[in-house]
């Protein structure tokens, strides 16, 4: 149930987490299912957290060849 989680983007993961929270809060799910839901929710939460924690500024600039075609990137320092 949890192995597909890494494929989700942040938004999907957050949405899925939200759904799980609502489902748990509604109290509709049986206990066994709740625990499975909780585990999945925890995985999603960790994923979201990880995505947020990974965020760090990395600024690059495209370098262009003489023909104007991109040749790569260099770190960019806004002047």
């Amino acid at each position: 149930m949890t192995d597909d989680v890494s494929e989700l983007n942040f938004e999907q993961a957050l949405r899925a987490l939200e759904d799980i929270v609502h489902k748990l809060e509604s109290g509709e799910a049986p206990l066994d299912e709740s625990i499975a839901l909780y585990e999945r929710g925890n995985t999603l939460r960790a994923l979201c957290q990880q995505r947020l924690d990974m965020a760090k500024a990395r600024i690059e600039a495209i370098t262009l060849g003489p023909d104007g075609a991109p040749t790569g990137t260099t770190s960019f320092d806004a002047g």
Partner: protein
């Protein structure tokens, strides 16, 4: 017209039939070529640099890349040509009806007796004309569906990499980077371009194409959001963003793209083509990424709510279990009725045995009581009495007893008692036993003399009856 006009020397008043050369005549006839050349020199000298304003008409772009058109106003028309190099650098697409100011030089074309302006640069004549151009291009591209709402792509809520097409210098990129850093530090790839002036539009279009064409697995991380940005400026400064190539590049961009060109009041076609228009570059950064701390808080809250819920749920389940557990009878209670029955039965078993024994005892006791030594004693006494009686009897019946009373016993030689006369006769010799001893005798067959009191035979006959008495 100035003094070096070649037509000045000719005298139109004199009409002659024959043209003849006269000495000293300055007005010698020129060849057409000579005149054309002179004309060319004059025109090119005199109008080597002119600026002329007019409306474009008959616009044509040749396969060679040169462009041909006329400039006209109400009363006049001037042919114009713009060579390939200049034409390629045009910051706008000239079209019929557009009011322009052309800068260039006049030149003549001797072969056709005409003159034209070779345009070095072409500018739109005033903002009104520019707006007209803008509206026309907008209408044309809109008719193509380039700005259609259904073409708009949804922006990612949290882009991992953001491509920015803008000038690498100046406030715009700084504003964007600062705002991104404040909200959500992100991976940004800047594609540096000129944002105004010659070549700007081509660079911008190429940059947008460049991001759009980036492979997903290339060496450079493909952005999942592109921002095309430029600070505020005049309509002319922003004109590159109305360039058809730029507008098409933006519209065709495979990555969701935000246009942030100029101030809020400025509108470019690029804005229409983009998936979203941001009023300013800073606003574009705000639209591009959410606030990280908000998201962190949200994720944290979700986690907390989830933990609370599952804890409550487990607690509740535990309570219910406990309640059920309390309702469950104890094992001992469960066994109690059976235990009771068992006890009862075992008691009854014991009881029944006791009863049975009691009955047996009762049954036994009567015969037992009768079985008494008395019974034996009585018998013994009876026996004793009988024995005594018999003993007494026996004592009276002793065979010698009658001897005391005068009787004698007659025996033969063998000691055997002779009971009969006959036997006595037969024996002949007998022994008479008296109480005080024996005496021999002899029996003859004759009757005994009556004088003798002794009557042994008679005695012998009566001996048997003694025992009866």
């Amino acid at each position: 017209m100035s003094a070096n006009d070649p037509f000045e020397n000719a005298d139109p008043q004199v009409a002659r039939l024959l043209a003849e050369e006269r000495p000293g005549d300055n007005a010698q006839a020129m060849s057409v070529s000579e005149l054309s050349l002179a004309l060319k020199r004059t025109v090119e000298d005199r109008f080597g640099h002119v600026r002329v304003r007019g409306e474009i008409s008959g616009f044509k772009r040749a396969a060679s890349g040169h462009i041909y058109f006329s400039l006209k106003d109400e009363n006049a028309r001037l042919d114009a040509v713009m060579w390939k190099g200049g034409a390629a650098r045009l910051p706008f697409a000239p079209e019929d009806g557009l009011e322009v100011v052309a800068t260039g030089k006049l030149t003549t074309y001797a072969g056709r007796s005409n003159y034209q302006i070779v345009v070095e640069s072409l500018e739109v004549a005033g903002e009104g004309a520019m707006m007209l151009l803008f509206e026309k291009l907008k209408a044309r591209l809109a008719a193509e569906g380039l700005f259609a709402p259904e073409r708009k792509k949804k922006l990612p809520s949290l882009p991992r990499t953001i491509g920015v097409v803008t000038s690498p210098t100046g406030a715009v990129i700084r504003d964007i980077l600062h705002r991104l850093a404040d909200r959500f530090p992100s991976h940004v790839i800047v594609w540096p371009v000129l944002v105004q002036g010659e070549g700007a539009a081509a660079q911008i279009a190429r940059a947008v194409h460049g991001f759009s064409a980036m492979p997903h697995d290339g060496p450079t991380r493909r952005p999942d959001l592109v921002i095309v940005a430029r600070g505020g400026g005049s309509i002319e400064d922003l004109w590159a963003f109305n360039d058809e190539a730029v507008v098409r590049a933006v519209a065709d961009c495979t990555i969701p793209i935000i246009s942030a060109v100029g101030h809020e009041t400025d509108t470019t076609l690029c804005d229409f083509a983009a998936d979203l228009r941001a009023p300013t570059p800073t606003a574009a950064a705000e639209i591009a990424v959410p606030v990280r701390s908000d998201l962190l808080q949200r994720v944290g809250q979700f986690g907390l709510r989830m933990s609370n819920m599952i804890r409550k749920k487990v607690d509740l389940a535990a309570e219910r279990l406990e309640a059920q557990r309390r309702l469950m009878p104890r094992l001992s209670d469960l066994a109690a009725p059976h235990q009771q029955r068992t006890d009862d039965l075992s008691e009854r078993l014991r009881q029944s045995l006791r009863t049975r024994i009691g009955k047996a005892e009762v049954a036994f006791s009567a015969p037992a009581m009768m079985l008494h030594p008395r019974l034996l004693l009585r018998r013994a006494e009876q026996g004793q009495q009988r024995l005594d009686a018999l003993t007494r009897l026996v004592s009276t019946l002793h065979p010698e007893a009658p001897l005391k009373r005068g009787f004698a016993r007659v025996t033969d030689a063998n000691g055997k008692t002779i009971m009969t006369r006959k036997a006595a006769v037969k024996a002949g010799d007998v022994t008479l036993r008296f109480v005080d001893g024996e005496v021999g005798g002899h029996v003859s067959g004759g009757p005994a003399p009556r004088i003798s009191p002794a009557k042994p035979a008679k005695a012998a006959i009566n001996q048997g009856n003694l025992f009866d008495g």
